[in-house]
Amino acid sequence: MSDEAVALTPGMPANRGKAHLSLWDRIMRHSDIGIATWAILVYVFFYLPIVVLVIFSFNKQTLNLRWEGFTFDWYIAKPFSRPDQKVIGVIHDTELITAFITSLEIAIISTLVSVAIGVLGSFALVRFEFRTKTVWDGLNYTKIIIAEIVAGVSTLLFFTTLNNWLDQNVGFDFFNIFQPGFWTVVIAHIAWNIPFVVVIIRARLLGFDRSIEEAGADLGANPVSVFFRITLPVIFPGILAASLLAFTLSFDDFVTTFFVIGQNYNTLPVKIWSMVRMGITPEINAISTFMMAFSMTIIIFLELKARVSEVL
């Protein structure tokens, strides 16, 4: 009895019981320092390659392995502006600029459509009961975790077959939107974004206090104005965060895009892939840095304006 009383006393001796500790327990006694060190090393591991990538985009050496000197050439050099000029800065590389614009267009269209569809879907899944609910849930989760290559090649197969079938059996070809190219990428990206949008909006809706909607309705608002004046403003940060995620997923996507884009278009990641396959140069670092800076600017802007990180 006295033993228990001692154990429960707050001021018990700190080293009490430590004599019985096992070998592993004794090794782990100062594990806090070890864990903190480990965590810092992992963060270094996370960011070192990105930092190196950015620094090397200013590298004079074309092999891009050792630092040889600082230059802006990979960004801004005009073609043939100096006699010894061999490189073209990314801002003068028309292929890269075209690819960037294509990426941007695809990302904007697919974000708008997927967020609209995803918001409606999330409402249905959170607020209504119907029989097929688990099917749509299951499809969304499967889409998120499945290896992207399977979705990519199956969508390619689908579009090609559909396009051929339309060509042969239907006189009207629907403006060729199912021929691998710009629109097939947009369609595939929307399917890729929807599940992620649903995950975010749904979390927001689950944490929604519905009594404020009821209060609005009791005060005479019709369902439409309840939605636009109460529901929408409350979930708006979620919509913003979902749009941001959808935009970056689409803008950065490589695998699906690569398979369904066909011959005539390039997005930035597809272009970078073909450049990497040709060999490494600081030009790839420059365009990569540019791409990251572009994404980061949008994220930081939205973070400052809307604190999206609290929603994610």
Binding site: F46, L65, I117, F130, T132, W136, V150, A151, V153
Partner: protein, 298 residues
């Protein structure tokens, strides 16, 4: 009060323009259409296609039931080798991410307030940059004559060429680097759920840190561990970009076989069959996960 409720209910009925039992299906229909038409139907199609036979012109495939492509896949030694290599890659990447990620997830979960948010954000931030770029970034570090070699030589830990780039080692470094956030975030959620008083209780009962870790933290964070392992293992099965960039064509994995059939190989039924094998493996892992955890944690 009951009367008020009844009145409110009546008023509500008049306000609805769409019958309640139709509103759900109506709202979900655009999403349902999109996910069916552009995700499920293509998946069903690729399964059918792989049993088909191919004519000389690749686009004309007659459907049928022909298992030729499947028997051909595993009769080739190179494919069997790729399958084993991919299996090894999935296991090592998952275990690797777990070992690297668990202490980090624990470290974040015992932090509090704004620091915790900051450390979580720092894990998520790489998500916002293209994994193609993040993979490419390793070339300058790992290559012969690259940064890591320079540092190791300067410290006297190594001399001569590093010979890591374009080997399996480089591929593993790239894999763990790219997939770590998929592991750390579920782990963090799992460890975070453990009530801090349990650690104190364990300590008060005389347990050391190792005992607490093995008897409290790890068992209670098992759902997080399973979720993290699944989220890492499933997408790794189809990975081909990291082996291509960091393995330099020497590391041939299953995803690369699919890539080749759909690009230079131009044998789509074969590629479909390869991709279905992958699909089956992924479904297997997901079923294992559901058996272990149940669908609630999904």
């Amino acid at each position: 009060l009951a009367e008020v409720a009844v009145v409110r209910e009546e008023a509500g009925k008049h306000r609805r323009y769409i019958p309640r039992n139709l509103a759900g299906p109506l709202l979900v229909s655009p999403m349902a259409f999109w996910m069916l038409a552009f995700f499920l139907v293509p998946l069903i199609m690729i399964v059918l296609y792989s049993f088909g036979t191919q004519s000389v012109y690749q686009t004309n495939v007659s459907l049928g039931f022909d298992t030729e492509w499947y028997s051909r896949i595993f009769s080739e030694a190179a494919n069997r080798k790729a399958f084993l290599l991919t299996a090894e890659m999935v296991v090592l990447n998952t275990v690797g991410c777990l070992i690297v990620g668990y202490p980090l997830a624990y470290f974040i979960s015992v932090k509090s307030g704004r620091r915790k948010t900051l450390f979580v954000l720092l894990v998520m931030l790489p998500f916002w940059t293209s994994f193609l770029i993040r993979t490419y970034a390793w070339i300058s570090i790992l290559g012969n004559g690259g940064i890591l070699e320079g540092w190791l030589n300067a410290l006297g830990l190594h001399s001569g060429d590093l010979d890591v780039m374009y080997t399996q080692k480089a591929v593993y470094i790239g894999l763990i680097y790219d997939y770590l956030p998929f592991m750390v975030l579920p782990l963090f959620v799992g460890i975070e759920k453990i009530h801090k008083s349990l650690y104190e209780a364990s300590k008060d009962l005389g347990a050391g840190k190792w005992t607490t870790l093995m008897k409290v933290t790890v068992p209670l964070s098992l759902p997080g561990i399973f979720a993290g392992c699944m989220l890492t293992a499933v997408p790794t099965t189809g990975e081909f970009v990291i082996p291509a960039i960091l393995g330099g064509g020497k590391v041939v994995v299953w995803g690369w076989l699919i890539y080749e059939e759909f690009t230079s190989g131009r044998n789509w039924p074969m590629g479909s069959a390869l991709s279905n094998v992958l699909l089956l493996v992924m479904l297997g892992i997901i079923v294992l996960y559901i058996k272990a955890v149940g669908t609630e944690e999904f």
